[in-house]
């Protein structure tokens, strides 16, 4: 016997009722109405979720509600009711072994998807996109950047042309991927920087050109940017962040999760991680192609070194006068302590940074430089 409440269709008036059953048939008695009986197979029985009240709907749409979940389960199994298997979920849910397996499996699948699956898929998709599509992506980007953070270059046009010519004749002849590269000169006040758009547009800032003492240093930076284009890093990043956002929305089942801090931190950490991997990949690309073109990869480390020192000087000079690089870099090389502080700070922020530690990049350049010297001497 199962005790519960009986409701007639669409009504919230209820009366106490008792449900009796033998193998195939049931009989429902309630205080105020005639007993009803019939076959158990005609009943609609709600799925069990935890211990919430169970609902049994009769053919006349009246409803029997009971808290006696276990009794309903045994009625289901002994009668061979068509819904008896939907109870499976509850069996899984109430057994700690299954829960433990599910937990481990979820963590394992989740981790591998995030750690290997998504980057792999991003890479595969990025590489399978035709070059024309990749190029179309950044169509509007340069125009947007020009309106916001970039200013017109103040470099001597002859110098620009010389670098552009060199870029076309020496560096682009190394490429055969089908990208159409174009070099743009722009100014970002006081910031030495270079970046590439997926289309093959490479932007280099005035300050970086001024910092470089030789064509080879500029070459090393440009080859690094070409590396980003060839490896389709821009597209990979877009795909990857889309995947991460999408997975988070699915996992939490809430679209507003995109905005919450709890979601933002893991996304940021993950993307920084893959961004660092991409930087290293482009570094390696640059070093290998420098060796092929007969340029010593050590030039990459010298320009990196200048950029670090420049950023230190910039902190001190703050604004107003243009820093005098000759004297200030001398001042700083003597100031070993400042360099060490900087390295310490970088070390602590390792996991937040979009770029690998400068020191590691310089070391890698030196390694390739040794390889280069060995090849020359051979």
């Amino acid at each position: 016997m199962i005790k519960g409440w009986l409701y007639t269709e669409n009504s919230s008036a209820r009366k106490e009722a008792e449900l009796f059953s033998d193998e195939q048939s049931f009989r429902l008695t309630s205080s105020e109405s005639e007993p009803v009986s019939g076959s158990i197979s005609e009943l609609e029985i709600s799925q069990r979720v935890g211990n919430i009240p169970r609902k049994i709907t009769f053919p006349d749409r009246s409803l029997f509600e009971t808290a006696e979940n276990d009794a309903v389960d045994s009625l289901l199994s002994s009668s061979g009711h068509k819904s008896r298997h939907v109870g499976m979920l509850h069996i899984f849910e109430s057994c700690w072994q299954w829960v433990a397996i599910a937990l481990v499996a979820t963590l394992a699948v989740g981790f591998s998807t995030v750690y290997w699956g998504m980057p792999y898929a991003s890479k595969k998709i990025a590489y399978s996109m035709p070059v024309a599509v990749t190029a179309a992506i950044s169509d509007q980007t340069l125009a947007l950047l020009d309106k916001s953070i970039l200013e017109e270059s103040k470099l001597d046009p002859d110098k620009q042309n010389a670098i552009r010519e060199h870029f076309k004749e020496k560096l682009l002849t190394l490429q055969n991927e089908g990208f159409e590269y174009e070099l743009h000169f722009r100014d970002m006040p006081k910031i030495p920087n270079a970046f590439a758009l997926p289309s093959g547009d490479i932007i280099i800032t005035d300050r970086l050109v001024q910092l470089a003492d030789s064509q080879e240093e500029i070459d090393s930076v440009l080859l690094h940017e070409i590396g980003h284009v060839v490896h389709r890093h821009g597209l990979q990043r877009v795909l990857h962040s889309s995947f991460v956002t999408f997975a988070l929305v699915l996992a939490s089942g809430d679209i507003t999760a995109i905005n919450s801090l709890a979601a933002a931190i893991p996304i940021f950490l993950l993307e920084s991680h893959y961004s660092r991997e991409n930087e290293t990949e482009s570094d390696v690309y640059a070093f290998e192609h420098m060796i092929n073109a007969g340029i010593d990869p050590i030039y990459f480390s010298t320009i990196m070194d200048k950029m670090i020192k420049y950023s230190l000087v910039e902190d001190k000079v703050d604004d107003g006068n243009e820093p005098d690089h000759e004297s200030s870099s001398k001042k700083n090389t003597s100031n070993e302590e400042v360099m060490k502080d900087k390295a310490d700070a970088e070390e602590q922020f390792k996991y937040f940074s979009s770029h690998p530690l400068s020191q590691e990049r310089i070391e890698l350049a030196k390694k390739y430089s040794e390889k280069f010297s060995r090849q020359i001497s051979r």
Binding site: S12, P53, E93, F246, L250, A262, S311
Partner: protein, 407 residues
Amino acid sequence: MNQVDQPQMAASALPFEFTGTGGEFFKIWIMNLILTILTLGVYSAWAKVRTNRYFYGNTKLSNSSFDYHADPIVLLKGRLISVALLLIYIFLGNLFPVAGLVFAVLLSLVVPWVIWRSIQFNARMTSYRNVRFSFDGKLGSLYKYILLLPFIPLIVAVIIGAVVGYQSYSSGSSYFGTAGFVIITIGLFAMYLMVPYIQKAITAYYINGHNYGQGDLSAELSGRKYYLVYLSLIGWSILIMIGLSIAIGVVAVLAGVDTSPMLQGLASAGVGGAPDISALPTLGTLAALSLPFLFVGIWFKAYTTAKIRSHVFANTKMDDVIQLESNMGVMRLFVFYLVNFLLMVATLGLAYPWVKVRIARFSADATLAHVTGNLDHYISQQQNYQSALGDEMGEAFDVGADVGLSF
């Protein structure tokens, strides 16, 4: 047995109860998660139904529970459409910023409709004692509250600003544009001033649109109360900021820390190119520094939620029979939020089911229903009002849209 027979029957207070437990829901949650993963997301609709049934079924008033009735297949259709739109939006936004923006604007035109359908659907899928809720709020009002009212100050300001700017330009004034710029800035500021009013309007719309059977839910909210809550929040935040700066200063002096390079570092962080973080403090100091702000942020949330909830509930009733009350204290809510936050951080999110159950229990415990007369009798009179209108709903967009109504 009606009220005329028993005029002496005073209002009795009935508590809401939540009877679920974290451990039980954890098991349901983890099964939902693994099945969702294994089915590449398709199961998420079934997961949603199980989750909602668990929470509704464990929320009780007067020993009867609520129930959730959505058909997973119906949910799945809505989800597939939402997922497709979300994917398009993410990709466009990342790949073609301009096209992404256009798409977002177009999408925002449908948002009120989607929310409206979603509220309607969720009301319809909720029952208590075999009688369903329903929602008959007007779609037009929602468009007004979401897409029109918030932008009125800005539209007005832009028009005035353009006129003023043009006049000063044609009169050859050297202040060309300045006045216009100031007016538009004021317009932007006025947008923020509208927020409490709009929040009040949407909440009232939400409650007033709901019915339980033939029973009518209604709320008379006061915009003044909303503004008072936010005003006192501003007062508190000024006090807290002064207190915090003094405290940080004192600590810094005592510890002999020079904070100026730290602030410089913060100011210069985020510059592109070579990492420029030499002046940044160590992670430890940074965390210690941001911790008070985190506490303050959580406290703000607790303050507004508790105050507004108690105002809303105190003015919400059903047919002069049921009158709600919220007794959430600000401090208790603050500690509650803080514990939830720590639980989530410490377990890397695995405590999510416990936190969800904690929230449900906390909300239920802080809610009372004052009943005039006999609840059983009143409820027994309610018939399904919507069933006469037909059951067809079309696709259900259950977006879980947060309209600022998390009670």
